[in-house]
């Protein structure tokens, strides 16, 4: 056997080997191993060990991994991104069809427990070069400064270890770089140094109706900020990106490149600066030396195991796969907070039927926003939420009608025939961390033999009160706009938390710079590090954190 195939000494492999034989398992469990029993030894890993390592490995290519990758590559570091899914050619591959696009979702099964089990897959989880940004709606509101100190203001949850001013320069940079379309000046939040680089995208029927209802009730609205281009835009490392054609399929993949998913923005930029992006690379193990320093990772690529060595690891796999990898590898667990503080944005939707022709499949789904509910005067809860109009794709909508209203038979078909006359409004609200909301590894294994994640989620009083407040308000808006047959679909949207950032390794997994408290060369950068959920869509803030984490890391290396 050639030397390089021998497993390197001192490498810890903490993934426990599953004993499949029930008799043997019971014997081992009892600790009574009779003489003569042959204990099967795990076959030694025979993975080619590359002669060279790289400076940095980034796991995941979504809103967390991609901007960071670009920043590190531009600083001249040798960087590799490992992405579990394939690299698509959207212009050729993406169909305007919900079913055909299901491959954009992270469809490995997750077990949803608790009183309000969270839907994953298309609801909030992505795979492929670009991660969830391949199917995000590209709503890119900034949080308001108060979102970062819920505890200071209300005495609940935890505050971020830094203020809004730390993120602000990155929001500005991102808005300019991605070519975000939005209103200038923006009606809510802190004053801004720069406006959006592009004018807002047009309002579709649902947005116009919400505008009408809100106007009657005296609620301010505005065209929303969205990371799809309202005019062609030149992007470094990419070239000209064309304007949005209002195809309305943002949540099933943009085929025109108008939407700023990572595959048409930060990833080509990273590649232009030498980053090596490896698709279909599913990381299973994170290896360490005796001192606990990470030495590299093992991943599966096209059915073969590979090992890659690195000096620094950046884990950017999202609020479910990031803690799952940490738990699988018994890594960074000293705080006891990995998997804890799982939060999901309250995202109740209210639909109504209108006389007008709406054709909900046209235009960006949520063209109108209101942040008047950021801190409602009559609130009986901590935090707040924003309102967004919804024009919804037909299969997604039908599924919500089936689950939410329980309609079936002729009644379902009759209701669905109103599709072109139905508009929605939804909220995105803050969520508090609760002790009984957490992620753990289940006994049940996936196809690779790894434990599936189980996520416990139950809304508590604060979320219930916020949802009730929001539902009542959205019903009033739809009544004012002339809707009939108004109903609410209860849902949780984005998932947040599970490896939170904080000031102390006693109650947080990473420090204010995104570095693990207990592993010297591990950084985490995705929605799992958010200390609080923020009452806005998370993608822009994940990207801002990614750039900031990269900058902090680069400073530390000087």
């Amino acid at each position: 056997m050639p030397d390089e195939e021998i497993l390197e000494e001192g490498i810890v492999n903490p993934v426990e080997t599953e004993i499949q034989d029930p008799l043997l398992r019971s014997l081992v469990a009892e600790g009574a191993e009779p003489a003569g029993t042959i204990v099967p030894q795990p076959a030694p890993l025979e993975i080619p060990l590359p002669a060279e390592g790289v400076d940095c490995i980034v796991i995941g290519t979504g809103a967390g991994g991609a901007p960071l990758l670009a920043r590190l590559a531009m600083a001249g570091l040798k960087v590799v991104a490992l992405e579990a899914g394939p690299w698509h050619d959207p212009k050729k591959d993406f169909a305007t069809d919900e079913k055909a696009q299901e491959y954009l979702f992270w469809n490995d099964e997750r077990l949803s427990a608790g009183q309000d089990p969270v839907a994953f897959g298309k609801n909030n989880s992505g795979i492929g070069v670009g991660g969830s940004t391949l199917h995000y709606t590209a709503y890119t509101p900034r949080p308001q400064p108060a979102d970062l100190h819920l505890h200071r203001d209300f005495g609940v949850g935890v505050d971020w270890p830094f203020g809004y001013d730390e993120l602000e320069p990155y929001y500005e940079e991102l808005e300019q770089f991605l070519g975000i379309s939005g209103p200038t000046p923006y009606p809510w939040g802190a004053a801004r140094r720069k406006g959006y680089p592009l004018a807002p995208l047009p309002l579709n029927g649902a947005a116009q109706l919400m505008q009408r209802g809100c106007e009657t009730l005296g609620i301010r609205t505005s065209p929303a900020a969205n990371a799809a281009l309202s005019a062609r835009y030149y992007q470094e490392g990419v070239g000209w990106r064309e304007a949005c054609t209002n195809r309305g399929f943002c949540q099933a993949g943009c085929s025109t490149g108008a939407k700023a998913s990572m595959d048409v923005t930060f990833l080509p930029l990273a590649a232009a600066h030498g980053a090596d992006i490896r698709p279909n690379s599913y990381v299973t193990e994170i290896e360490r030396d005796a001192s606990g320093t990470i030495t590299g990772v093992v991943y599966e690529q096209n059915g073969e195991q590979q090992r890659l060595r690195c000096r620094h690891l950046f884990l950017c796999a999202g609020a479910v796969e990031t803690p799952r990898l940490l738990l699988l590898n018994a890594l960074a667990l000293s705080s006891g907070h990995v998997g804890r503080n799982f939060m999901a944005h309250p995202g109740v939707q209210v639909f109504g039927t209108f006389a007008e022709d709406i054709r909900p499949y046209k235009g960006i789904p949520g063209a109108l926003i209101s942040e008047d509910t950021h801190r409602p005067k009559d609130a009986d809860f901590a935090g707040g939420y924003l309102l967004q109009s919804i024009g919804i794709m037909p299969v997604t909508f039908a599924g919500e009608v089936a689950r939410g209203r329980g309609f079936w038979g002729q009644r379902l078909r009759d209701y669905m025939r109103q599709y072109n006359h139905i508009a929605g409004i939804n909220i995105l609200g803050d969520c508090l961390p609760h002790a009984d909301n957490f992620l753990e590894l289940a006994e049940e294994k996936d196809a690779r033999g790894l434990p599936k994640p189980r996520v416990h989620f139950t809304n508590h009083e604060n979320e219930h009160r916020m949802n009730a407040h929001a539902e009542k308000l959205m019903r009033r808006i739809w009544e004012a706009a002339g809707a009939t047959d108004i109903w609410a679909f209860q849902r949780s949207a984005h998932v947040i938390g599970t490896a939170r950032m904080g000031l102390s390794g006693d109650d947080a997994v990473v420090d204010a710079n995104g570095r693990a408290f207990d592993v010297p060369n591990l950084y985490i950068c995705d929605n799992s590090v958010f200390p609080s959920a923020l009452g806005v869509n998370p993608a822009l803030t994940i990207m801002a954190l990614a750039l900031r984490t990269a900058d902090k890391f680069l400073e530390s290396q000087k």
Partner: protein, 199 residues
């Protein structure tokens, strides 16, 4: 009662035009021209039961040939596919469907002393309603929660039904005509390729 407010044939006609991208056309035509299907996961009797259940969840008296909903489910379970999550209270999908369909069979016997397939449409609906309401009799419902099983079955068949081009035509959806983009997207604004409703 007419099945749709929208004129028949609009989607089929659109698919032959240059208004539809190749990827979109390929996806939709595969569903439109699906060949006859032989079950590979379910045994013939359970598959027949599934078809009978689907015929009540999506009655299609307006169509000479109903949109078949059972094949997609059979194929998914055979391949071990998932939509990314499962209620923790539910057994794994293959087991859940075997148990749940067995439960429907059991409930039909308990309520009407007859196979589900041989019941009148009204009786079949009564069985399904009892399952949805978690009131259905039968031991199977001790091992698989009736309400969640019904929700999962209904949601999956609903996805399959409304992904079919003819069901999309029924609700007046023409988003698949994706080559030109949309310039008229405000209230009451339509473009020539969007059919007008007859009502």
């Amino acid at each position: 009662m007419a099945s749709s407010f929208y004129p028949e044939g609009t989607v089929r006609a659109l698919l032959t035009t240059e208004l539809v991208t190749e990827a979109t056309r390929a996806a939709l035509q595969a569903r439109l021209n699906a060949p006859p299907y032989t079950p590979q996961f379910f045994d013939p009797a359970t598959y027949a039961l599934l078809r009978a259940v689907a015929a009540r969840l999506f009655p299609q008296p307006d169509r000479p040939e109903p949109i078949e909903l059972a094949p997609a489910l059979d194929q998914r379970l055979l391949a071990g596919g998932s939509d990314g999550w499962r209620y923790d209270v539910m057994p794994p999908d293959r087991e859940a469907y075997r148990l749940g369909l067995g439960g429907i069979r059991e409930s039909a016997q308990a309520m009407f002393q007859q196979d589900f397939e041989r019941l009148s449409p009204e009786q079949q609906d009564a069985v399904l309603q009892a399952v949805q309401d978690e009131q259905a009799p039968g031991d199977a419902w001790q091992t698989v929660p009736a309400g969640r099983f019904f929700e999962e079955l209904l949601a999956e068949l609903t996805d399959t039904y409304y992904a079919h081009p003819l069901a999309q035509e029924e609700i007046g959806y023409v988003g698949m005509a994706d080559v030109p983009g949309w310039t008229r997207l405000g209230l009451n604004e339509t473009e020539p390729r969007e059919p007008e409703a007859n009502r």
